[in-house]
Amino acid sequence: MPGAYRVAGRVATRVLLGANDVSVLLPSFRSELIKTYKVDGRRVHFRPHGTFSSALASHASNTAAQPPTVLAFGYWGTYKRLELLLEFWAHVAQQVPGARLLIAGLNHPSAPGYLEALQAKYVAQTSIRFLGYLPEDQLPTLFRQASVLVLPYSSAAGTSGVVHQACEYGVPMVAAGIPEIQELAREQAISIEFYPPGDGAVLQSQLVRLLKSDDLRHEMALKNSSAGSNMQISQVVGGYLELFKARTQKKRKASVIGIHDYLSHLRLWSQVGNWLLHSGIEERDGGVARYYLAHEARNKPASTEITGYCLSGLVVLHQQTGEQQYWNAAVKNARFLIDKAWNPSCAAMPFEVEGEGRNFSYFFDNGIIVRGLLALWRKSGDKDLLSMAIQCGTSMERDFCAGEEFHPIITLPDKKPLPHVKARWSRSSGCYQLKAALAWKELHEATGDDHFLNLYRRVLRFSLDTHLSFLPGVEDSRAVMDRLHAYAYFLEGLLPAIEEPECRSAMRIGIERLANYAREIAPEFLRSDVMAQLLRVRIYADQAGVTSLNRDTAEHEAALIRQFQSHHPDPRLNGGFWFGRTDKIQPFMNPVSTVFCYQALDMLARYESSAQHFLWKDLI
């Protein structure tokens, strides 16, 4: 009989593969389909299941759950079985006074009467409660009561929706060590304690250990919450939609994005990479100059902020090409920031490392530097990077705090704020600082310290309250173009919170305003970075379902961006992007413009041709 089932399963799978595309929820399932059924890998996709709540992370503490509560949740009686758990529960309850076991869910349709029989058997144990079916709106309360979720399965039919829900609410888990759940934990960095299937003693000791340790649960809760926030269902659905778009536009695309475009994309990589590494914009010590002044044939001094931006850009380039040279250069940038730039005696990151620039520190620049360091840290795990990022992020609060706002600039070493100059955005506080506050959001994810998250939320609140009055802000239209650059920083800073209605609406309005102003001022003055920022947020907004990307507009903006790229026999001027143009190109070749423009063009190409999902943390 098992043989017959196997044959039937194979036939059924084969029939299902008659679809154009098949998506499965574990990478190993995809490999299996490709290997056993010889399916074209381009038609079989792995996509994570996704988590549902948009209010993730905020309840990821899991130390206050009283009384100690173990939750079991699902459709019971087939491969999800409660016998072992119930048999050993009395020992758990004995060792953890006041502990209770909540069993939620129904019988599986194939196992009628299963729960009722168990309920009758354990009726005397008052610490066990059978809750039955709970509607969707009661699940938040249920999961928030849970100290630990238990998954007592004998096998699995695939990924686990329950595991994903537990991540959403930052709940620690104990599970039977079956391959699918182990793979899921590994793939999505979910923290689960396992017990050998069928081994009740280990199950019991794992539960007791977790229930007794606030620290351990807290640590697991944070990790799971962070895993949950990295795979929200909106992101998963965004991936599906990209595939649909690619499929339904296949014919059109064949003429639009052909081999020529692919090759020109490859060229873009190497041109930008070459300029960053070999044009001399990066000094020997790993610091990166603010500009190359083409007329004077010299670099402006190295800037810590620009080095941070360059570092983020190189991490992206390395991720995309796998080329070691980008990795080496990124490490060099980071060492420059840590060893040479950081001023340990006053625990602050100066604006520049030489001359007058040593005497100031910028709030915004610190944020960019933290993000660069963390981008590399996420790949390398080097503790120096994280430690430097934490110190910079701490300085951002300690040294710049001004009530509800943050000073833009302080002096060093005495850390006095410079007077704000309202007409100059970089000399005043404002919604643009939200991009720097992304550093705190990332530090929260890296360290689990809620204080960093609160800081991000504080700047988010302030920025949402003030962003409408940021534009135009000044009369001179060229200065307005400069403020568009800053305003785009605000929009970029919204990305982690893009599921929140207020942020969605701010993004929608903001893109519209940014695009309109840019269009109006462009004949007189246009900055390449502004166009790149606009195109990037358009793509993120489309992905999040905030506004849909109009292909013609995107292509038009990409064409404008391409016009800023320099092709020149002099290697100092070849491959980078110019800062801006009035009636003619302005003679500054700028690393930030270059990495922004690169990312915008790269994202658009990927958006059009593949099913890639863009993460906010990858935004340079």
Binding site: D21, G158, I233
Partner: protein, 128 residues
């Protein structure tokens, strides 16, 4: 295996770019408590937020139905019915979508072997 997606060969978007992507999501859908209804609900909720998507749910029949607000639901197939593939195809033809997305496992449409088998031919047949 949980989801199968499917597309009609017609390239609706090839003419006008501004036209919305028309998606049929075949799924159990609340208040039904059928297989994967919860996941279907969350998929539909996320899809509904996209301005560029026009979503129709092809869902399982219920005795009495009070549909959730804001979803375009057509109840056009029944659990364990041999007629499911034919009825689905009819509904798909009527809606004429760009994409048909099956949110399914092997036992989503039926428990009895024959209807279950017939039902999983849906995705392949929808290509026609």
């Amino acid at each position: 295996m949980q989801q199968i997606l499917e597309r009609h060969e017609g390239t609706r978007l090839s003419g006008k770019q501004s036209e919305r992507l028309k998606i049929c999501l075949v799924t159990c859908f609340p208040p039904s408590r059928g297989d994967l209804n919860e996941y279907g609900f969350h998929l539909a909720s996320a899809l509904r937020k996209h301005p560029a998507v026009e979503l129709t749910l092809l869902a399982d029949e219920l005795r009495s139905v009070e549909e959730l607000d804001g979803f375009n639901v057509e109840r056009c197939w029944r659990f364990n019915s041999m007629l499911t593939p034919a009825r689905l195809l009819k509904a798909i033809r009527k809606t004429n979508p760009d994409v048909v997305w099956f949110n399914m496992g092997f036992s989503t449409f039926a428990r009895a072997p024959l209807p279950a088998f017939l039902s999983i031919t849906g995705p392949a047949m929808a290509r026609a």
